[in-house]
Symmetry: C2
Subunit: 163 residues, 2 copies
């Protein structure tokens, strides 16, 4: 596969609702209720703007979104941000789009005054690749909340102090 030329966009538009649906559906790992939440966040952003608290970075190839992140400031904190979603369409796996999205997202958060980024993920084995991805990008396990998602399915909280 030839490496695509990627550009980033942070201002969302109506067409991103379908883009998010398509990107989040493609890996085949998210449940319908999780996909529904991903779509709700972009809809909420389009409805309420920045006041929604949801920010996006879209990675595009020739103007078509092939991956995105959704993140935002955590209410009642001074400089802490949540990274809610980072997903790349399945057919673009393995060519570092996720890493590029992560770097661009951290730049955005830094520009917005963020000092710390948190990622909540599952302890399940099918999330092993995701956890390793976060660790490669400098995220460390900050806490584990036992049985949070379900019996024997813990929440692992990663964090990173932005330099």
């Amino acid at each position: 596969m030839q490496l695509p030329k990627i550009s980033f966009r942070t201002v969302p538009c109506e067409a991103d609702i379908e883009a998010v649906r398509s990107i989040v559906t493609s890996p085949g790992v998210f449940r319908p209720d999780e996909i529904g939440i991903a779509i709700e966040l972009i809809e909420e952003r389009l409805r309420r703007g920045i006041a929604s608290g949801y920010h996006f970075v879209f990675a595009e190839e020739n103007g078509a979104p092939i991956g995105y992140t959704c993140f935002g400031p955590i209410a009642c904190t001074v400089a802490s941000y949540d990274l809610f979603w980072i997903v790349v369409a399945k057919q673009y796996n393995g060519i570092k789009i996720g890493s590029a999205l992560m770097v661009e997202t951290e730049n955005q958060i830094r520009t917005m005054g963020g000092k710390r980024v948190y990622i909540e993920t599952s302890s399940r084995s099918d999330y092993g690749a995701a956890r390793r991805f976060y660790q490669r990008h400098g995220y460390a396990v900050e806490a584990t909340i036992k049985n949070f998602y379900n019996d024997n399915d813990d929440m692992v909280v990663f964090s990173k102090e932005l330099p």
Copy 2:
């Protein structure tokens, strides 16, 4: 002070927006942005109903709310609930309204199928009474997230397995 006769109500109404504002303002401990969030949650509930994910228990004396809880199922979990707010108007402190609200709220969560309740709070000394209140009600510290709210202001996550 004579002990008031308390009743509980779980169906919110428009007048609860002002009730929430008044109750949350009375202790003098919440910042304006925190009060704004409390009001946003009741408004969101009135706008979107149960789909908002925000549930309420109001404690009333003669039909007037004097304290309340706001809680809800945590997205992407099977049986985990967040307790977002538990507040009693300042003039009703010290007569166990908070404890009664906690018991009633846990009953509601159990009825809704919840198995675990999480409470996020601050490590700051002015939250010491709140942390002791949670511990008296069977909540244990599940995790501490350093510098979450601000430098030297950690998030303490309490949890309780509902019997």
